[in-house]
């Protein structure tokens, strides 16, 4: 679910960068008029969709707040200080946490296998020369298939798999492994292509067969990057597994859904705390690994900057933390296999074969829902409105929280005394915790809470998704702000400009650019994630999808999947165009 990386990496266009040398100055003259026009266009691009989405979200004259539900929120908040902590329930929680970790680990392992194989097929480097035409055909097909696979949200994958495999633990593993694997293949393929090819060519020229040559020349330099990406994916997989609880495949997520729907608020608080602790530990672990290997921070992964590190490899591939993490992975997976009770027998059973056959038969030809094309269009518009509003909420949260979440630079900052410094440190800690809580509580839970107080529709979905995305975006942006150079600001201060003015003049432009870039990346992901809040009943394509899956209307499901695919590809293209336009 937290696919932070996504499409970023492959849209780096080598010709898009500025051509520094030999460019006649006349070719890039920009007039003041053009700058003004661009700003106007920028304002319209923000304001028009926002106004439209707001209009769509707020029903004319109707009630927004469900008065009957408000006391429930009060009950929920009232239990915050008395979570259920008896031994019996804690045992359930620990069990569920272990299951969640096990699913996430197995799903990540599956994704890595898919990603490694797919990445080798996709990368140009692995093929010594232009591959023969059958390979090229397969590659084109594979590329398309991978895009389609990752455009379907893991929760939707889980829903589809449940209708074939039943409530098998395998559903959770596959629902993670398939979309994550497709994404990983893309990233690994790009990583291989970014490596210097000389070593590989030398081996091949010396007569080494393809497979050993690749294993010797490609994998070691890509190793640190791949290891760090693997743990980043694991971090994402833990959150996604919690989310998958909504379809009932076990783990903390399922316990949360059960407790929420039976309104056992004291249990909800215990489980939420468990989810937060689990993601904090996994975050810290994988973050430590990444800083140790000096490969890439989360924000670099998301912005697609990690490719730059590929050429040099990690600076310290031998860090003890990384080494032990890699060594612990194999036995960890064995433990996970037994702890989760996964077995492959479900894949080959007679029942599965029959159901899969029926599902595939039923999916084609696609059919329209009972409401006709109008219902699909309305759902598509709801999805877009929800994504736009969610991003607006997320940006607001980021603007309020992230400035405090930027780590204090050593040796700089206000010259204030100890009191000022500790105040700044405490505000940093609070901001970080707020962001962690916002993104650790799955959006399904935010949506269920929002649906207590608001009538189903675009608004509760946007709120839930916005709060969650705010946690993700806020952390990414804060991380990227830490890398904004302090030198221009200090230069201004040196010429006698007051500190605050210098900050606005020198730091804000750089920070704004980071914020815009990440907002556009997250928007693409947000469009896909509307499925999540839809499935628990908010609005949009996700809601329609869940309804029709419940009634096994597979031809309609197929139509909705195609519609989701189209919407997510369209938003990807739009966001990529905007990003390119901004760089100009």
């Amino acid at each position: 679910m937290t696919d932070l990386v996504e499409v970023a990496r492959h849209d780096r266009d080598p010709t898009a960068g500025p051509d520094r040398a030999g460019r006649p100055p006349s070719s890039c003259r920009v007039t003041g008029r053009q700058v003004a026009l661009r700003r106007g266009a920028g304002a319209l691009i923000v304001l028009l969709p926002l106004t439209w989405a707001l209009q769509r979200a707020l029903p004319q004259g109707g009630d927004i707040v469900n008065r009957g539900g408000v006391p429930l929120i009060g009950d929920l908040l009232g239990k915050a200080w008395s979570p259920r902590l008896d031994g019996e329930f804690l045992e359930v929680v620990v069990d569920a946490a272990v299951t969640t970790l096990a699913f996430a680990a197995l799903g990540t392992a599956g994704a890595l296998v898919i990603g490694l194989l797919g990445g080798l097929v996709l990368s140009d480097v692995a093929w010594a020369r232009r591959p023969p035409w059958p390979v090229r055909t397969v590659r084109t097909g594979l590329r398309g298939a991978l895009v389609a696979i990752r455009s379907i949200h893991e929760l939707v994958w889980a829903l589809l798999l449940v209708s074939v495999l039943g409530l098998d633990p395998l559903v959770a593993v596959l629902a993670i492994a398939l979309p994550f694997g497709a994404q990983t293949a893309q990233v690994f393929g790009d990583t291989f292509d970014a490596l210097p090819t000389r070593a590989l060519r030398a081996l091949r020229d010396a007569g080494a067969p393809a497979a050993p040559a690749v294993a010797f020349a490609l994998l070691p330099p890509a190793g640190p990057l791949m290891l760090s990406y693997a743990f980043y994916r694991f971090e994402c997989a833990v959150r996604s597994t919690v989310l998958l609880g909504a379809v009932g495949v076990g783990g903390l997520g399922q316990e949360l859904v059960v407790s929420l729907s039976s309104r056992n608020w004291d249990e909800v608080w215990t489980l939420v705390a468990a989810v937060i602790v689990l993601s904090a530990v996994v975050d810290a672990w994988s973050g430590r690994l990444r800083t140790d290997m000096a490969v890439a921070s989360c924000s670099e992964w998301s912005a697609g900057d990690a490719g730059g590190a590929a050429g040099t490899g990690g600076r310290r591939p031998g860090s003890r933390w990384a080494r032990w993490s890699a060594i612990a992975a194999a036995p960890g997976l064995v433990v996970a296999w037994f702890a989760s009770g996964v077995s492959l027998s479900g894949l080959t059973s007679e029942r599965t074969r029959m159901l899969a056959g029926r599902l595939l038969d039923d999916l084609v030809p696609p059919a329209l829902p009972r409401g006709g094309a109008g219902e699909v269009t309305a759902a598509v518009l709801d999805t877009l409105a929800m994504a736009v509003l969610a991003m607006a909420i997320a940006v607001l949260i980021t603007l309020v929280v992230s400035p405090w979440a930027v780590a204090v630079r050593r040796g700089t900052g206000p010259p204030g005394g100890l009191a000022m410094r500790s105040l700044r440190w405490i505000s940093w800690l609070v901001a970080r915790i707020v962001l962690l809580v916002l993104r650790s509580v799955p959006p399904t839970v935010w949506a269920v809470i929002a649906l207590l107080a608001l009538f189903p529709g675009v608004l509760p979905g946007a709120l839930a998704l916005g709060v969650y995305t705010g946690g993700v975006l806020g952390r990414l942006v804060a991380e990227s702000w830490e890398s904004v150079s302090p030198a221009p600001r200090e230069a201004l201060v040196r010429t006698g400009v007051p500190g605050a003015v210098a900050t606005v003049a020198a730091v804000v432009p750089a920070s704004a650019q980071q914020l815009v870039t990440f907002t556009l990346y997250r928007f693409e992901i947000c469009v896909r994630e509307t499925a999540v809040v839809g499935i628990v009943g908010a609005a949009g394509l996700g809601r329609l999808l869940a309804e029709n899956l419940n009634f096994f209307r597979f031809p309609v499901v197929m139509t909705l999947l195609i519609a989701s695919f189209a919407v997510s590809v369209a938003s990807e293209v739009a966001s990529r165009r905007l990003r390119r336009a901004i760089r100009a």
Partner: protein
């Protein structure tokens, strides 16, 4: 009247246990063009940082325009710093904004807060800004995004920012380190123009020939100490040999 722009008396600066500069006595008068020579790590950058008030001396005293920089109230210090223009090695440009913003950054201090903030939203390319850009040959780049310019062009943006600040003292830290000889002479010529007849220039250099062509005085630093201070005409080669000799 030869007013003292800068006066250092036994000035030095240590960072923890390591001493970057020590016991420097130096007086620079208005209109002088001083080349600071010395090997890497001799203390040249530290000297410039003392001169623009971004570092305080840990020994001795530094006077700027007749006022000691240590212990000044913030407002007074800002007033002094406005009269000093610095081009650092990193240029310190704001990469994400239009060139015009970076030029106007030179007069944010002069403008005061409200006008400075307004200019960030809506910059007006007035004659002074355009003139500064024309002077460095970048009249065409007013609305260009700074990060899209080449290295040489960005350096000239930094000089345009200096021109518009109209400082009484210009400090330049190795402004020609990565330039070919023609460009280097061009940049030093521009820096000379940034300091009009009354203005003062202090520039760190590695090439003695450029110092001879563009400066009136040379000082040599070695291991944090001032080893010579001489009119440019007397810059003899034995002084330089001593400066760059290995310890």
């Amino acid at each position: 009247m030869n007013e003292h722009v800068v006066r250092l008396e036994g000035a030095g600066r240590s960072f923890g246990a390591s001493t970057a500069l020590t016991g420097v006595d130096l007086t620079i008068r208005a209109g002088e063009r001083v080349a600071v020579l010395g090997a890497s790590g001799a203390g040249k950058s530290t000297l410039l940082a003392l001169l623009n008030g971004s570092l305080q001396p840990s020994e001795g005293s530094v006077e700027l325009f007749g006022a000691a920089t240590a212990g000044l109230p913030a407002r007074t210090r800002r007033g002094l710093q406005r009269r000093v223009g610095t081009v650092s090695q990193g240029l310190d440009l704001i990469e994400q904004v239009r060139v015009l913003h970076n030029v106007n950054a030179g007069r944010l201090a002069e403008w005061g807060t409200p006008r400075a903030l307004a200019s960030l939203v809506w910059p007006h390319p007035d004659e002074r800004a355009l003139g500064a850009l024309e002077a460095v040959g970048l009249g065409w780049a007013v609305h260009e995004r700074t990060e899209r310019l080449s290295g040489g062009e960005r350096q000239r943006v930094a000089i345009a920012r200096l021109l518009i600040q109209r400082p009484d003292l210009v400090l330049a830290d190795e402004p020609v380190a990565s330039l070919d000889p023609t460009r280097a002479a061009e940049v030093l010529g521009l820096l000379g123009r940034a300091t009009d007849s009354r203005g003062t220039l202090v520039v760190t250099l590695h090439q003695p020939q450029l110092a001879r062509d563009h400066c009136t005085r040379a000082i040599g630093l070695r291991e944090g100490r001032l080893v010579f201070d001489t009119p440019i005409a007397d810059l003899a080669s034995h002084l330089l040999d001593e400066l760059y000799a290995r310890a």
